[in-house]
């Protein structure tokens, strides 16, 4: 087990290094230097070259990459000329709010998907199961923003119960308390997640129900409720653990579309604004951190699954 972890960490580090090289070279290709942003559009080529030389942007790509990584390891994520702040400061403002949105929607998705999947498996092929499967299928095929638009129309415009714009507060605590504005973005993300989670949950629960130990438990006279709670629930949840691990990258990143739809000042919206302003230092830091989170997410998913399921031996 320990040997596996060490080997896995080694591979992950190699992958992260590879990813960072690819992303850095790609963005460097697109945006070699911020000289024009600093000096203005009317700067002459000579001035640009001089600035580049003075600030180290004329060095070969590898040297610039190593320098960048050195900065990263010291916590310096670069400087955004478009926003006139360090990238780290920009992230820090918003990371808590993004984490809240992703975390809450993931939690809500799990709370809905697990009972739903179990219900579908226990009442297999009933009307309820078919309705739920069809709804899940439709939601799965829907782009996130369309689902958001429908929810806004139903709950915020036609029938004004909730707010159509997410909370603009800078304090995370106020955001957490503002369910009127936050419920729709959280619900949109959660429903999309439920669509795929419940599919896995349903098939996993159906597999578990076919197992012998369920039959034994029933034969022993265990009440059905306890059979479901004690045996089915624990065993059917294993794929969900993997899925949660794979959702970790979204804590940073994946809410780009939802945040822009609801105008929620999180990391996703920051990426969107940086794109529009061609703010490449932020884009670079963002993509790199996203990639690191993906690698960490995969690793955590594997570890968590092996911890939860003693039948899996990680070798």
């Amino acid at each position: 087990m320990i040997a596996y972890i060490i080997r896995r960490i080694g591979t992950s580090v190699i992958v992260v290094i590879g990813v960072s090289i690819v992303i850095f070279v790609l963005l460097h290709e697109i945006y070699p230097s911020p000289a024009r942003d600093v000096l203005g559009l009317k700067a002459t080529l000579a001035q640009v070259n001089a600035w580049n030389k003075a600030n180290g942007y004329d060095a070969p790509v590898i040297v610039q990459y190593l320098r960048y990584v050195g900065h990263l390891l010291q916590g310096n994520l670069g400087y955004s000329y478009a926003e006139n702040q360090s990238v780290a400061a920009l992230f820090q403002e918003r990371v808590a709010r993004s984490a809240y949105l992703s975390g809450m929607s993931l939690l809500l998705a799990i709370v809905i998907a697990i009972p739903l999947g179990i219900y579908q498996a226990v009442r297999r092929n009933s009307v309820g199961d078919n309705v739920a499967t069809s709804l899940a299928f439709v939601t799965y095929s829907m782009p996130v923003f369309f689902l958001g638009l429908i929810l806004i129309q139903v709950f915020a415009l036609s029938w004004p119960v909730l707010g159509f714009e997410a909370s603009q507060s800078t304090s995370v605590l106020t955001v957490m308390g503002d369910w009127h504005d936050m419920l729709l973005p959280i619900l949109t993300l959660a429903l999309i997640t439920v669509a795929s989670f419940s599919r896995y949950m349903r098939s996993s629960a159906m597999d578990v129900l076919a197992q012998d130990y369920i039959k034994v438990a029933r034969a022993k006279g265990l009440p059905e409720r306890l059979v479901l709670l004690r045996h089915l629930l624990r065993n059917a949840c294993l794929p969900i653990i993997t899925l949660i691990g794979l959702s970790i990258p979204n804590l940073l990143a994946g809410n780009l579309i939802t945040e822009s739809l609801f105008n929620y000042q999180g990391l996703g919206l920051l990426f969107f604004n940086s794109l529009s302003k061609a703010d490449y230092p932020t884009l670079l830091a963002y993509t790199l951190i996203g990639a690191v989170f993906v690698v960490i997410g995969n690793f955590v998913a594997d570890l968590a699954l092996s911890a939860a399921d003693p039948r899996i031996r990680l070798v």
Partner: protein, 305 residues
Amino acid sequence: MALAPLQPVGLPPVIAEGGEVGPVQSGWRLALREFASNKLAVAGFAILVFFILFCFVGPLVYHTNQYTANLTQATLPPGAGHPLGTDDSGFDELGRIMLGGQASLEIGFFAAFIAIVVGAIWGAVSGLLGGAVDAVMMRIVDVFLSIPFLFVVLILAVRYGASVLSLSLVIGGFSWLFPARLVRGEVLTVRVRDFVAAARVAGSTRARLIGRHLIPNAMGTVIVNVTFQVADAILTVAAVGFLGFGLHYPNVDWGDMLSTGVQYQQDGYWWLIYPVGACIVLTVMALNFIGDALRDSLDVRLRRR
């Protein structure tokens, strides 16, 4: 001398248990019959064909001017002359959906095609060569898989402009990773089979092995994956368009139309939003139906061997 029949003459011939013995069904035909018997799959296929015809043949039948803006006709509700109303530049909405659909479908299919071709070749070569080459090729796949897909697509779309070709290349350029893994898995299973050894012994070159033996046998998984790739590509294009980085005026795609529609949601101009959204959902659903059914029918075929 023929063997005497085992049953007395004069009685009706015994038919083997299970009914009539028909001709043996070959693999593809069997899969096709399974597919045709799945009602959802047939419905999905019909919907897909409908949308392809609607988007490409529709404009030949239903003429609208999609290139000259007419602001006096802007944002009209559905009514005379405009079955789905007009958008904020005065274009007929139904005609716009057809035009947008052309771009969305083209990008979807083209990106999936690139993804499958590149992925299949990469996976097949990697699986066949094995050893260190395989390890390196798969590590490269892992590295690219760790790159957040949507971000890089957006960055490249912003930088290199959005056109049908560039979006297809960018989306396809990141979607080939999953088919590569799938094909490699299939190739690893197939290459230990006897007919591959026989072909090798007969002197077949590696290229011929890949093209003639390995890839056709991995086709089942590949075809299932293609349909899901198209569905994902259409959703990605819609997302990129929705964020405003898709095709620009006067070209249009469905995501771009939705992003315009959002601005008018509070004014109640529902015809700018729901018809387009419904088209996206129906097309993706149709593709998912087809993909699921293909996966089921090909699995059954394998099980029956």
